[in-house]
């Protein structure tokens, strides 16, 4: 077995204090809970934890339009009534409320993902985790919702393959993600959509996920994988409608890890916050080859996990509307599209890591920490010698993953 992976984990203490407002299901507080849970299991001793830089507006504007970024920067809850036109234009409002520290929140979670990707690009780690990232609807990631923003961003290129497993139908948000949407132009067949119906369970989801992802990896031979692990596919999520257990969800992470490719893991949806924390703590464990015992250790937020104080969550009650023949049809359709991809050897595509934009001004005072050399750092990381080969074939889940041909070189 290959030597243990080096894991970089991104967390910013400010992110959990962000509040979208009453009645909004997104609770960044879940990130605090996740972090406490991770620490209560002492997982921090097996990884490096970084505080991400706050992405600069110029960095955000690398993808988003400058006026959009500028507007987000400027708007506050107290001034929003002055900007009703702009709010409508940028689709802000009830679903995407303007809240205090909105821009800082965006800077932190985007900065985390950017830093994580850079670290992978520079081969400073094998796996990078940013549970704050993976919010995937903004235009220009395993989640019950279709990753429409991300797909759109890469819809026309063959250098990033997007794969999304999501609920589709019944006008479920965002209403895109039909299996027929496969990319266009150069990107034709490089966007894969796996639309699912209500109530999919561990067995069928993990089987489908593994089958499709192995085929994708085999066909596309990605240079890196971005795995978005929205936890709203778990049973009992306030918005989701799948029946996945945490074990099932984590099994998908375990599976993707086994490809031994540079792996960027992000969060995403997840609207029952204690289950999100459970799920991501377990998956952090999976990425660290550490199986977590079911009894949650004491921590500040343990009351959120009562009355059982366990990692396992109750089974879902939603009828599984995904028949075997439906799933196999979807699978065949995806395979059919994958067959259309045949890489030209050595020409055109191939290696593709992105150059991230680096602001050309100096911000040293913001990051005053001196770095130790790698050797010293490593000594601080406690590693246990147990391996959990983890062939738990019990369950499965995940929502979407991007296979990024480009980032980082192949191993």
């Amino acid at each position: 077995m290959r030597s243990k992976d080096k894991i970089a984990y991104y967390y910013d203490g400010d992110v959990g204090g962000v509040y979208f407002g009453p009645n909004h299901p997104m609770k960044p507080h879940r990130l605090c809970m996740t972090h406490h849970l991770v620490l209560s299991y002492d997982l921090h001793r097996k990884m490096e934890i970084y505080r991400p830089h706050k992405a600069y507006p110029v960095e955000l504007a690398q993808f988003h339009s400058a006026d959009y970024v500028e507007f987000l920067h400027r708007i506050t809850p107290d001034t929003q009534h002055l900007f009703s036109n702009e709010l409508a234009k940028y689709n802000l409002g009830e679903d995407c409320p303007v809240f205090e520290n909105l821009f800082e929140f965006c800077q932190i979670y985007a900065g985390g993902t950017i830093d994580a990707a850079r670290r992978l690009n520079n081969q400073l780690c094998d796996i990078a985790i940013n549970w704050a990232g993976g919010l995937h609807h903004a235009k220009k990631y395993i989640d019950v919702h279709h990753g429409d923003g991300v797909e759109e961003a890469f819809y026309f290129t063959d250098r990033v393959m997007t794969v999304s497993f999501h609920k589709y139908g019944d006008m479920f948000f965002p209403g895109t993600g039909d299996v027929k949407e496969t990319g266009e132009r150069e990107g034709k067949y490089y966007a894969i959509n796996v639309p699912l119906k209500d109530g999919i369970d561990d067995t069928s989801f993990t089987r489908l996920f593994k089958t499709i992802i192995s085929k994708v990896v085999e066909t596309y031979v990605p240079g890196a994988i971005v795995l978005q692990c929205g936890a709203d596919s778990l049973a009992g999520d306030r918005l989701g409608c799948f029946n996945l257990s945490i074990d099932g969800h984590a099994e998908c992470v375990r599976f993707v890890k086994k490809f031994n490719l540079p792996l960027l893991v992000t969060g995403g949806g997840g609207y029952t916050k204690e289950n999100v924390a459970r799920c991501w703590a377990v998956e952090t464990g999976v990425l660290l080859d550490t199986e977590l015992p079911n009894e949650i250790p004491e921590n500040e937020y343990i009351k959120y996990f009562g009355p059982e104080y366990s990692l396992r969550i109750p089974n879902g009650h939603i009828e599984n509307l995904n028949s075997k023949s439906y799933l196999s049809t979807i699978k065949m359709q995806v395979f059919e599209n994958l067959r259309c991809i045949q890489h030209a050897p050595g020409v055109q595509m191939q290696e593709v890591p992105p150059d991230f934009y680096i602001p050309d001004f100096d911000e040293d005072e913001q990051n005053p920490d001196e770095r130790m050399d790698q050797h010293t750092q490593d000594k601080h990381i406690q590693r246990d010698d147990e391996y959990y080969e983890g062939d738990h074939d019990n369950d499965q889940n995940m929502e979407d993953s991007l296979l990024i041909k480009e980032m980082a070189e192949k191993d």
Partner: protein, 652 residues
């Protein structure tokens, strides 16, 4: 006409694969002699295009040593298919790729290749480089250096040498076969003489126009006006299903296989290119029956009023007729084509070449199947198609017809459609017109994915290494853990990594409030000692129930009282009230108190007292479907908050 349209559609997809198959069967290039027969092949003909594409695939494999080719035919973003052969010649005539690029002639090339649209230059160049550049280079070598000309190279040269001549002759009709005009249908020889594909297309085209409907209705013209005929037809089909017992399964399947086999017999319409053996088998056994049927359709297409066709009775008595009647066979065939898809799915036979929407394969409940439902599916599929390719022509017409009996407003639109469908229009215009028509009919129109730098992520070229400044540690995040300096000297007793909670403890009453509080405080202290400065950088000092330290008991009571007085769902006004009552506290502090103290307290209470009814969010039970005013909001399906079928109540 749905059935026929699908066949024709399938054939269009298949023709790409056919030549490849032939190549394989015959081992080497046998089919690549288009120039030798001359007369029936013109540059731009469908057959030639298919063969050329087949050749390209083969060529790619030969040259690159493995499967390295791309999907054929290449399509532009707007659905136009690029005829690679035309493109190749257009570029060659203009002096080759380099010259064209250097002189900026790609626009001209686009024009000569029959492609329309703005800004095609870069796309076309890309397509050329990806698909044809290799071939061009190879040809250059072959032509320059005659040493090792193999047999098939000769043929290629032949092939390439002859075609341009024909192209000149035929310059005015780029796609004679594809763009068969409406008029031609009438002047065509009988069905045998016509390529099956062509005849199908013609039929299909007729059916697209208003008169086309008559094809199906046959002599019903005499009975009443056309509109009524539509309605009758639509209802009749439904009728046939409802009375499905009339046709037992064997019978229907018989038609299925016959149709299947028959369509395979016709050289062009090959639904499944993989079934080569079956094909020859079918050819002998089943051709006759199908020919009759096809001839009948062709006949109707040529002259709907021809007395030789016979008359179709009122729909009400259709079911009492036997299947020896031609028109009945057509109807059965049409139905069978639908049914066939069902049969396939259960038999787990995937028709590789038929790109059907998975909903077509979904489990059926009960033996009857609902054509209308299916039509809805197809319509959705259709509109999907219109986005990526403009070939939904035939399907949209059938879908729209099915809709006629329900949707009176489409009648007006049909007239509009006629305007789009002049008898002599070429296929592409008609396609796009029908696309418009179809999308006007659709309520669900899939979002068009916007294209261009404004919407897409920029994926820069990979230079081989991460850029240097990117490796600067300051762009990689600030390390918080492990601590960079040893901050304390005392030893901490550590648990093994990943240890769970121990249920036994030395407390007087294990599990009591005091016990829990004690263990949480103990853990907190350990964490604090171990984390050192990281504890503060992660703001752990401002998390958990310790947050209340800065609150007086009185303030806490006030906070709780306000929350109690406003039953969930929490309103925006609730926070306004809180902000007003605690003017000295920042909003962040108040929110922090809410999550770290209030909710935790409440949850702790629930865990002990009402373990079967817990929830950690005030909003939860109230459902998400309320807006800030407390009224039921019209949550549009476009809302992320909308979750159909989802019981909002807490169900744990």
């Amino acid at each position: 006409m749905a059935g026929w349209s699908m066949l024709a559609d399938g054939s269009a997809l298949d023709c790409v694969k056919t030549p490849e198959k032939k190549l394989k069967q015959n081992d080497f290039w046998v089919d690549l002699k288009p120039g030798s027969n001359g007369s029936d092949i013109q540059l731009g003909s469908d057959k030639l295009r298919c063969e050329f594409e087949g050749f390209l695939v083969r060529f790619g494999k030969e040259i690159c040593g493995r499967d390295c080719f791309r999907p054929l035919p290449p399509m532009l973003g707007d659905g136009q298919r690029v005829d690679l052969l035309k493109l190749l010649f257009a570029v060659r005539e203009n002096g080759g790729c380099k010259v064209v690029s250097d002189d900026g002639l790609w626009d001209l090339v686009a024009l000569e290749s029959g492609l329309l649209g703005p800004n095609l230059c870069s796309t076309l160049k890309l397509i050329y480089i990806k698909y044809l550049d290799l071939l061009e280079r190879w040809l250059m070598r072959v032509f320059d250096d005659n040493e090792h000309l193999m047999e098939f190279q000769d043929e290629i040269k032949d092939f390439l040498a002859k075609v341009p001549d024909q192209k000149k002759k035929r310059k005015d009709e780029a796609y004679p076969n594809l763009e068969l005009e409406f008029k031609e249908v009438k002047s065509c020889a009988d069905g045998e003489g016509l390529l099956a594909l062509d005849s199908k297309r013609n039929v299909e085209k007729i059916s697209d126009s208003k008169e086309g409907v008559i094809v199906l209705d046959g002599d019903m013209n005499g009975v009443g006006d056309e509109k009524k005929a539509h309605i009758d037809l639509g209802e009749c089909v439904v009728n046939l299903e409802d009375n499905g017992k009339l046709f037992d399964n064997d019978e229907i399947e018989g038609v299925v296989t016959r149709l299947d086999g028959g369509s395979k017999c016709d050289d062009v319409v090959i639904l499944d290119a993989t079934n080569a053996e079956e094909e020859s088998f079918c050819r002998k056994r089943k051709r006759e029956s199908l020919c009759g049927l096809l001839n009948w359709v062709v006949g109707v297409a040529k002259d709907p009023c021809d007395p030789a066709i016979g008359s179709v009775p009122e729909w009400s008595v259709w079911k009492s007729h036997g299947k020896e009647e031609m028109w009945k066979q057509v109807l059965l065939a049409r139905e069978a084509i639908f049914l066939k898809r069902q049969v396939e799915s259960s038999a787990d036979q995937w028709q590789k070449t038929q790109k059907m929407h998975p909903c077509m394969y979904d489990d059926q409940h009960g033996s009857n199947y609902n054509l209308r439902e299916r039509f809805k599916c197809r319509k959705k599929l259709l509109s999907d198609k219109t986005v990526s390719q403009g070939r939904a022509c035939s399907e949209s017409s059938s879908a729209s017809q099915s809709e006629l009996d329900k949707n009176p407003c489409t009648e007006g639109m049909e007239d509009g459609l006629d305007k789009y469908l002049p008898g002599t229009s070429d296929l592409s215009t008609a396609d796009s017109a029908i696309d418009k028509y179809a999308s006007a009919l659709e309520k669900y129109v899939p979002k068009r994915i916007p294209y261009g730098p404004r919407f897409e992520a920029n994926v820069p070229e990979w230079t081989g290494v991460a850029s240097e400044n990117e490796s600067d540690p300051k762009w990689l995040g600030t390390q918080v853990w492990p601590l960079e300096k040893v901050e304390h000297r005392y030893l901490i007793e550590r648990d093994p990594i990943g240890k769970g909670r121990q249920d036994s403890c030395g407390c007087e009453v294990p599990g009591s409030i005091e016990c829990v509080r004690f263990h949480i405080a103990e853990k907190r202290l350990r964490v604090k000692l171990e984390l050192g400065s990281a504890f503060y950088r992660w703001k752990f000092d401002r998390m958990g129930e310790e947050v209340k330290i800065s609150w007086t008991e009185e303030e806490e009571k006030k906070f709780e009282a306000i929350l109690r007085s406003t039953p969930p769902p929490l309103q925006k006004c609730f926070w306004d009230q809180i902000f007003k009552i605690f003017p000295t506290k920042s909003r962040a502090d108040l929110v922090s108190y809410y999550f770290n103290v209030y909710l935790l307290h409440r949850r702790g209470y629930q865990n002990r007292v009402t373990p079967n009814n817990i929830d950690s969010d005030d909003e939860e039970e109230s459902g998400l479907v309320t807006n800030g005013n407390g009224h039921e909001a019209d949550k549009s399906p476009n809302s992320i908050l909308y979750s159909p079928k989802k019981p909002y109540a807490n169900f744990r």
